[in-house]
Every structure is written in structure tokens, then in C-alpha cells.
Assembly symmetry: C2
Amino acid sequence: MTAKANRLQHVQEYYFSHKLREVRQLKAEGKAIINIGIGSPDLDPPISVSRAMVNTIEQNHIHGYQSYQGLPEFRDAISKFYLRKYDVTLNPKNEILPLMGSKEGIMHISMAFLNTGDQVLIPNPGYPTYTSVTNLLEAKPVYYDLNDENNWYPDLEALSKTDLSKVKLMWINYPHMPTGKNATKKLYEDLVVFAKKYQILLINDNPYSFILNNNPLSILSVKGAKEVALELNSLSKTFNMAGWRVGMLLGSALNINTVLQVKSNMDSGMFYGIQQGAIAALQTDDSWFRNLNSIYEKRRKIAWEIADSLHCTYDKKASGLFVWAKLPKGKNAEQMADNLLYDYDVFLAPGTVFGSNGEGYIRISLCVTEEVLNDVLHRILKDKN
Amino acid sequence: MTAKANRLQHVQEYYFSHKLREVRQLKAEGKAIINIGIGSPDLDPPISVSRAMVNTIEQNHIHGYQSYQGLPEFRDAISKFYLRKYDVTLNPKNEILPLMGSKEGIMHISMAFLNTGDQVLIPNPGYPTYTSVTNLLEAKPVYYDLNDENNWYPDLEALSKTDLSKVKLMWINYPHMPTGKNATKKLYEDLVVFAKKYQILLINDNPYSFILNNNPLSILSVKGAKEVALELNSLSKTFNMAGWRVGMLLGSALNINTVLQVKSNMDSGMFYGIQQGAIAALQTDDSWFRNLNSIYEKRRKIAWEIADSLHCTYDKKASGLFVWAKLPKGKNAEQMADNLLYDYDVFLAPGTVFGSNGEGYIRISLCVTEEVLNDVLHRILKDKN
């Protein structure tokens, strides 16, 4: 038997992975479990996306290897989208790298810049993949606290007082998952100053900009940001294309080229039809965003009622695909999640999935229909009355 | 400026990358360059593949995240294909891992098993990605010689006399690229014995089985092979789907699960429509292979004439997408490639792209039409007469 690499010693089974196994088991036993735990959009992409795939798929000579950098017209479409939506100018020749989903970008960036033992600033709470990729590369996750009192923003003053000499990368993610907190231009400006001072490469993971948010912001809109910041973005949430695996990395030509050195050695360009679908998505007109958000608004209203029924509080200005609900004082997140699962057959995410600062919170997904959310609400209310 | 990771110090620009830049420059100057250097299939996939994509793309609810392990029916189709074509039994539940191309599998496997400083046996000549991925993980490539005198097979006796104590993985690749040499069952048996003796994990990269070859062989057909061997396979060459990015890893449940631990932390499952296309491809009937190979046979005949015109010799029993032609004694591979480029406007690969043992050889691709190959032939003959 060949031993695993040491890097796998740190990798734990994801909470969702073993919990969803339990959910499947409960379903097999006949329980009608409702899953409001996962952030996978249930809605369909713009119809133009599927049409673009169909229109191109039966052409000849579109089945061969594609460039690592993607089609020039795809990079053009990304560049125009960033200008139109974020007021950010990107050179499509060398400041844009299409990715097969932004998740793979987390690995590519980490491989491009991290040596064994380098430190990486990671938000707590935050997306667990920042930690697992850092561990896979035998670099060291250093968590920075986010909490309600500080608006779910990093306390840069407190961070400045710590030893940052070994920190190479800092992951930020606004609109923030799981809390839904939006950045401000001021926050991004402060982060860029901080990164310059301590020579840290910032990466803003920005897939939630367009969900329940009227003011999409890119960190690259800050003057001088490209010198110290990269941004990841994705079509998964914006255009309901999670399964298509289309993401992108934006930043300086120098940094993009460094990441490309990694990527070109481990995969190949994405399928032509997928790139054509992505171009169609990026060209969708603004009514798309209004329609999408009107659906999520209706769902969120019910999710808020669910939170109310559990005596939780929440931020009505939060963005993104989730309601991040604060439990009544003294309640434990995983305990609450288990209660909901065993008492009401409802599966959702305890805040601790995203780090210790998620204690006392639960996360409700908006990726299910109003009908399903109403069903959850009624299960809880019925029991209370 | 954020410094690159040390791992990128070893990564060199690929020969093709800078040479193709020169080719583009020559084209821009008005030269009618013919490219017979690259192994990207120019033919189209079975029509059923595109139809499967079209049939599924406009369905609802196929746009979300897919499982890391792929659809059960996709793994079933792979299992049936392996049984039908290689007489190898694989449990679709846990002995098959779909990949977005077998190239990414080289990285996933290496990450799953290699620690810094571990040694990796790599064929010389061979596919350059084995080396670049090994370097990216700061493991150490140890080349084993392949040459004409030893049938392009590893000399396991000679290898046994070297210090193998730090060797963790061994890459093999039959039908071999660039030479087109086929394995025998005996070779695979010897390799399995060797791997067991020295506790090395063998990986057979097997994408060329069905090209100009009537006897596809899998290393997993050797009794007990699963204990020490993994196999990579791909639809790129077999079904002309290089751009679709569909590959697969086959082996023991234990090893597959180790690789899955890496993969699940760095990407997500492949697009539903692509999986449906892949299923359709795997179900294609045997006339596909006969038709495909009758095209390649006609092309190869002309490629042989090109080799003759350059006074080269070659193995008429070779498989795969290339003719591997031995230059007349004393001729240098890169010099010959440059002569062909500058004198005849023909771009092809010097054998040294694949390692030092490629000196004295050139590689002619069969991924162009008979017309194009005839054009190359006439350019050379015209000059000689």
C-alpha cells in the first residue's frame, strides 16, 4: 500500500460530507428531509446560455484543445462585464484568466505563491476551502476574526499588532459568505493600504456580488489595487451556472502570468461550448439581475420568518444566497441544527461549519423554492402552536 | 510585488510554447506554415456525443453543482467500457474517478502521494507534464531510459540495481508517446512484480490504446495489479474530444479515495452535459474504431513517405497519433526541425522535446488531413528533385 502524502494528514472530511450521508440515511428510512443547507442555485441560467451551447455544439472543429487563456472573445466579454458592472478596466490580453470554476483558482493561486510554512490570513468564519487548500500545500492558516461587533470586517489595527512577517496571502470574500456582509469602498481602500504596508497579496473572492445587492463592488476598483490584489469571480451564482464550472481570475499581468504558469502545467483550456455559453451569460441585459433578485427577495422574506420562528435575529441588508441568523443567547449552533434535523426533518448549516466565530449562528439557504421554505416554516410553527 | 513560490523556479517554458510563437510570427510575415507538430485530434467526435449534449442542455435543473465522483451512470458506462474493451472489472462505486481530462489527474495523483523530496520514475523520452508536475510539488524526477535497443521498454534489471528507496511513483505510458510502442501483457506483469518488490505506485497513462492498435491493453488486466497500479485514461484521442476535458482514473478503492481527497478540495464535478456526451461516446459501437483507424492508416502511409523522403526509419507496428521517425546517423533533431521550418515551412516536433533520448528522432503528427500531409511531402520532394 502506498502511503498518502503528508499534506493529506490535515485534510478532514467536510461537515457537509458526513452530515449529508446521515441525511441520505434518514431519507432511506422514510423521513421527508428538506435541505436548506446548501448554496447550489436551483434556478436555471439565462436561456441564451443554453442556446449558445446548442448553436455551437454541432459545428465542426470545436472539439479540440482550447487555449489555457480561453478564447479572446471570452476574455473580451469578461473585460466588458467588469467595466460595465464594477467600473474596472482590465486588459483582456493579460489581466484576465478564465478558470474552470473559481474553486480551482484557490488552488492555482496558492500553488503559485505559497511555500511550505508560509502563513495565510483566512477569515473566521469563512469558506472552508481556503483552509483545506492552504493545508494541502503545507502552508499555515492564520485565522483573522470577523464578528458582528466589528461589522464582519477584519480589525486591521489589531492585525497590524501581530507578527505578519511570514504572511504571504490574505483571503477576503465580500459579499461575505456565510454572513452576507457587503464591503465598502473604504474597507477595500484600507485593505489595499494594509497589504502594501505588509507586502501581502490580497485575494478577494467575489462570487456573490449580484445576489440581493444593488451595489456590486470589486476590490480592483481601488486605485493601485492591482499591485497587491487579485480578484476571483464566478458565473455560478450570478448566472446559475454552478455546474458549468466557469470562473475567472482578474489582476495584474504579472500576477496573472504567475498563476498561468501553474495552471498550464496541470490542465487545459475549457470546452468551446462552455466558453460560448459563458459569453452569452456575460452579455445578458440588466433585467436578468432584477428578475433574479425579485425571486430571492421573496424567498428571503420567508427565510426571515423561519429565523423569527426560531427567535433569531439577522441583518436585513445582507447580500448573497443565505440568511445568516443569530440564535438566541446560549443556543449552540450544531445542537440547533441537529434539533431541526431530528425534530422537523430540516437540514441546514450550523455556523461552526465556517469556523469558531460561526458559533451561535445558523445559515439558511435561499436556493429552494418559496414552497419549500414555507413548508419549513409550517413545520416549525405547527410544533410551536 | 509578491514573489513566486519556489516550485515555479523549476518550471520552464514548454518548447511548443515558444516555438509556436515563432511559427505565428512566421505566419504573420506571410509564410504558409504547415503544422504537423501537435497531437490534437482534428476529427469530430461521434455524432451521438453532440446529440447527447443538445438533448440534455435544455432540460431544467441540470445546471447545478455535480458530484466530485460524477454521475453513477457515467461511472457505470466507464465500467462497462473497461470490461468490453480491456477485459478489466472495475466497481463503478469506488474504483472509478472521472476527471476533467487525464492531465489534471497527473497533478491530483502527485499531490495525493508525493512529499517534498520523494523521487518519481519518469520515462525518457516521455510526456513533459510528468516532469513539470513533479517539479511543481518539489519532488525529484528520476528518469529511466527508453531506447530502440530495449524496445522502448524500461530495463527493470538495470533499475533494480539503482537505489530505489526514495522512489514513490513510477509513470509509465503505453502505447507510448512519442514512440508509439505498445506494451505486452508480459511487460505489465513484470512491472507489477517490480512495483510490488520496491513498493512503488505505478501509474499507466493510457490515452492512446485505440489509435492504430487492435489490441488495447490495460495494466489493470494483470492479476493483482490494483494493489500497486493506477491507470489514467481519456476520451481525448479515442473519441476526438480533447476540448471536452474528460478523463478518468481507475484503480483500487483505497487509492481512488486518496486521490478524491485531493480533488474534492480543489474543484467540483464536471458539467452534466459533458458527462452525458461522455456516456454517449463510451457506448459507441465498434465500427467507430474501425472507421477512425482507417483514416489514420491512410494518413500514416503518407507520413511514412515523408519520413522516407528524409531518409528516416520507423516502426510500422507503432500505435498512437504519431510517426516517430529515426533520422539518418549524425543528424540532430532540433536542427532537422529548424531546417524543415525554415526551408519547407513545416513545423514538427524534434524528439528532444520529450527528453534527451529523443535525440536523433522527429515526431510527425497524424492529426492533419491527407491533403496537408501530401502538401508536406511534395514540398520536400520538390526541393530534392
